[in-house]
Structure formats: structure tokens, C-alpha cells
Amino acid sequence: MFYFAAANLMLAERTAARNRADLEPARQDRQGKKKRMGRVQVTLIINNDHVAEVLTMEDTMAALEGTYTDLGTHHAVCRPRIDLQIPTSDENKTYQWGTMEGGSTRGYFAIRMKSDVLTQEMRGDVPTEEKYCVRPGLWCGLILLTSIETGEPLAFLNDGMLQHMRVGADGGIGTKYMARKDAEVIGMLGSGGMSRSHMESITCVRDIKKLQVWSPTKANREAFGEEVRTKYGIEVVVCDNPEEVYRGADILAALTDATEPVTDGAYLEPGTHIIVIGSSGAPDDASIAKIDLSLRFGNAPQPWGLETFGKAKSRLTYAAMTEEIAAKRMSPDAKRGGRGAVREDRIVWLADIIEGRSAGRTSDDQITYSERGNLQGVQFHAVAGRAYELARDAGLGHEIPTSWLLQDIRD
């Protein structure tokens, strides 16, 4: 199994980049250009450092709660994720393009686009999915943000930082509504970027006193433990076995990109709230059996006149392959189709809790779980919209003339 690479530049490091001198040229460049270009309309290209500099976890959580509420009242809309998988000239590699879309009457629309080459690699005897764009270590994830009032293409944003923030924020929102109010111990599997963003979001909503963490590489979990001690001033126990993180944990967070479930329901204690992210995207069967109550943020609406299209699936994948080739080459991720592992009668909806129609957790002993549902599409306009406003006001981002993206020919 592969945990979110420590090679990923750490959130903390990125955040520390706020005052780094190497951001200065971008800012000066922009101010200089402003003078040169006069009132020329520009579209911003905002990178991860810019996002890290301006976007806080509180902003992200507020933006997401707002958009989930809007979706419930139909002021926002999104569609399920759609992927295309196409063979490359290397038979071990498959091109994957994926998009998510959504917007709201509050003012923004966004599409998130991912363009990567996928490879299946064995780590020990476990197949893991690796990906890159252009060359290993680089990825292409772009958000295009537009104005729904004018159609204007406002900005392209790299999605890496925002992606970690929004996934972390979802964990925080789930914790906020489902964990016990007195939750103070986190048990964590994984010590990569997602672990960092979840520490940020969970500490926003609960008074956390202790972290118990395990990840496969000792050096990584030790480094992460030290970082959390320093940043949050809480007790951190670095565990030598995954079972240890469950003991006394009020929140269990499995934050890996393993393709198989990494949780083990046998060790779950009563009252725990569970968060699972990553390629498998679901807890193990034993955990699922123990879940008393599962929070769902919502479901993507159905398209006009097609009430059954894409229902209950978190994504649709179109493949440029015959059936035989697809059976060999399609990534397991794409074959999987959907999540929604928990029994329907144990699901509570975020809108019902916010509007008081449902209580959520009703006892301290309940084991709870939260999952977003196929709402990814509605996340980007809200969070990217906020990041865009903050970056624009701070004078950050590269600029291209908006006129490059417009034309005087109507289709």
C-alpha cells in the first residue's frame, strides 16, 4: 500500500511559503504588468503557492458548507464526475482525463480537469496506481473558474493545494456534525499531505488533545508526529502498529491512497467517528457493519428529463477500448464506479441536520461515518471562487489577456 507521498510538498511547508521571497517576483511582475497593460482585462493563472498563501481551512470549510446548503435548496448545481480512459502507445499506461463541474447563483461556475497518465505498479504484492503528467513527479489538475453573471473566464487554478484543502475540509465538516462534542483523540492512518490538511480541519471543529498516528514508513510517521507536536502543541503518539491508533480514539481517520480498505473494524471502539479517503474510498466490511449512522452531504442532481442517469454512481467512465482490452487495462478505480457503501437506512443528510429535521448522532456510543456523496462538482466553484478573490486582491497570480479566451465568431 502506498501512503500519500511524503515527497508531496507538505502543507505546512507550503503555508510557510507565505512569506517566502520567491513569491515576490510574481507579485511585482503583476503590479508592473498592471501599469504596462493599463485596463486590459486579464485572466489569472493561480498556482499552489498562491492558494496556500491566501486560502485558510476556515474559508474552505465555510465555502463548502455554504455550497452544500445551496445544493440542497437547488441554488447550486453539479454533475457527477466523468472520466475518459484512452490507451497510450505504451500498453502499460492509460491516459485518464477526468472532470467535475458545478456552480451556483452566488456567482461562480467551475470545472476541475485532470489530465494524467496512469500506470499500475506493484508495491510488494499490492498493485498501486501511479500517475503523472509529462513526467513522473508532475501532475495536471486545473480548475477553470468563470462568472455566471457574464460568462467571463476569471482564472485557471492549479488544483493540488485546493484539493487537499477541500478533502480535509470535508473531513472537518463530517467531524463537526457527527463526532462526539467532547471528541479529543484522533487515531490516524497515514502521514502525508491529506493527514496534514485533516489535522487542520479537525482541530477547527473539535478541541483535540491527542493524536495517535501510524504509517508504513517509520521516518515519515516520526517526522509527521514531530510536526504536529510543534504546530498544534498537542500530545502525539507515533504507533508501531496500525491497531494501536484505534485505542481510545474518538475520531479514526484513514487517509491513504491504498486501493484496498486500510481500516479494520475489529479494533473500532464505541463512539468513534470514522473518516476514510483515498482510492478505495470506503471502510472495510467489518467497519461498515458497525456503523450506526452515516452522514451524507448530498447527491448530485439528475439531468433534465433523465431521472435515472448516473444515479448512485459517483462517476461515469467512457473508455476507448474493446471489452477485452478494457478488462485488462481499465484502472480498478474506474471499474469500481461508485461508493455509497453504507446501508441506506443508516444515512442522515447534511441538509436535514442543518435545518433541524434530523438530530445526527443521538448517543455517545454510536459509531458514525461521513462521506461526501457524488458532490465533488459543487466544491470547486465555491472554494476556487474564494481563493480567486483572495489571490486577486493580494495581487497574486500570472496573467494572460482575457481576450485570448474570447472570440467574435458565434457558433
Binding site: V77, Q85, Y95, V134, W139, Q163, P301, P303, A319, G337
Partner: protein, 370 residues
Amino acid sequence: MTLFIDNEVVAQVLTMEDTIKALEESYRSLAAKESVCRPRVDIQIPTSDPNKIYQWGTMEGGATSRYFGIRMKSDVIYERQYNGAITQEKYCMEPGLFCGLILITSVDNGEPLAFINDGVLQHMRVAADGGIGVKYMSREDSEVVGMLGSGGMSRTHMDAFMCVRDIKKLQVYSPTPANREKFAAEMRAKHGIEVVVCDDPRDIYRGADIVAALTDSAVGVLNGEWLEEGTHVVSIGGGSGKADAATLERTDVYFRFGNAPGPWGQPEMALEDEYITYAAEPEDYSGFRMKRHGRRGHGAALPQRMITFKDIFEGTNRGRTSASQVTYSERGNLQGAQFWSVGGLVYEKAKAAGLGHEVPTEWFLQDIRD
């Protein structure tokens, strides 16, 4: 470097012949499952002006070892009464400007290669489809074109028809006399053919081997009762691109290039629809008679008399079997198959010619994995 390629560059490098060739190859690869596309998906969101709606739309496709392309449209749409007819208008930022962008990536390494304005390419690809329909379905000795409409689509369709048939004569009608006269003069000069300007739409059908209805009218303009034996019909725009009942009634062979495949493992979700739409506040706008609002796009018009490229490439049905048959062609919901192929070609040619604005590709890449 990632290129930003504008319409002028596209017009400079892309020929109709190349467009037709690229599209035929794309449809062949789609039938062979070497490429893929999905139906168009739109998002509609009300603006703060109750008479205007934001519309975002995308089409996607790509081919093994070649290119992937997404076409994205970002516009504000509204309705306007014009000469008693309701037309759909749109703009991006200000009237007269539109946002239609194609992003081309490399299937082999994922690299974002180019953003291309879609205006010229859009007209070329639609006309090329008309030409492909004519190539496979019209009589080989077709030489007279009857045309309704004298705008941009009429110009590109003439280019396309000239590529595939030895056209000798054009009969054209459009509502504004000055426009049809100007168009006729232009076609005479450009193609060196006889052009008859008609004062009555009825006249364009007489003796026509190919009838092309090329308008953006909100209502249909074709009249199947006037079609003569052996005519091939192409229709875009008017009445959401669907022919009138009389034309469909008289059509012997209906050539639909194909249907977008269904998603993997969910064949029940294969759609014939031209597009699907997700809308915010759908309830509040159900009475808003937007051309594309609250309705599904049409699918296969005549399934019983339909043949597709798969039939042609596999040799099971080649379409027209007699000179007296009325034939009809339309693309089907394969728009997504068009942009990787034509856009990829534009990218190659623009790059080779050193054209287009350059932006560092690193701006679109990152060192954070999701």
C-alpha cells in the same frame, strides 16, 4: 510551451479537405473502439437578471496514442423577439463576444498542448460533417445545391460540398435580399459556379441534388413536400436541427454517423440525446421558454431507416441503393469525437508554422498529487 491559438491562426492553417479527412478518420476509429467520446453535457444557472441564464457546455473525446480534446463553452444566453420570431442570443462578457475554447492534451503523456478558440473550427467541423454526409449518401453525379441560409455556415458548407462533389450550380434563399445577393456574388467568384438567387424558398428545391438548410432559426425551415426524388438533405440549426415531419417521412435512408458509446459497465446509460442538461433552480425556470431549457436534445430521428458509419466501415450497409432515393445525413451525438481530431491537427500545423501565443506549460502543471 502551451499554445493559445486564435481563430485567425485556425483559418490560416486548417483546410476543409483536412477537416473532412480528420473527421472521417475519427469516426472510423470510434467505430473500431480506438477512440471514445461522450455526449455533450450542459450546466445552466440563472443569473441575477431573470431574463438571462448562464450556460456552460462541454464535449470530449480522444484517441489511442493521439490527442484528447475538450470543447468548453461559457456564455450568457437569453431570448430575443426578432421579426416576430424568437431567437436565442448569447454572449460572453459583452454582446458580440463569445467564449468557446478547445483544450488539446497528449494522450501519451497528458501534457496540455494548446487552447484553441473554437469559432472557425466550429464552422469547419459542422460543414465538414455536411460534406461527409454528401460524400457517402448523395448521388455521385450530384451537381446542384439548393440552400436555405446565407451566413457563415452556408459559406463553409459550400467549401465542403465542393470538396466531395463536382458542384456546378447553387440555388440560394435567405430572408434578407441583400444578404443572399452578397453571398451569391461571393460564391460565384470563389467557386466559379452558376448561382441563382431565389426570392422564394420553394425555388431552391427545384432540380436540387443536395438541399442544405443552414440557419439558426428557432423554428424548422425545411419543407419536405418540396423535395424532389434523389435529393440528399443536410439540416443544421433550424428547429433544434431536426428536420420537419414531411422530410423525415420522405427519407428513404437516414445516415446518422453514430451514437456516443455508453459509460464503461453501464451500457444502459448510452444516450442518443444531443446533449443533457443539469440546471440550478430548475423549478423556478420551468416556464422560461429557453430553446434548450427544460428539454432534451433529440436523438435518432428514424431508427428504422438508419445506417451508421459502423455499417459502412464493416460493409454491412452502404446506404443509398438507387438514384431516386431521398437520403438524409446528420452526425448524431458524436460532437466529442470532433475536437481531438480537428483540434489536434490545428495544433500540429500551428506549432509547425510557429503560430500562436506561448504560455509556459509549467503554469498548468504541479508537484502536488491529489
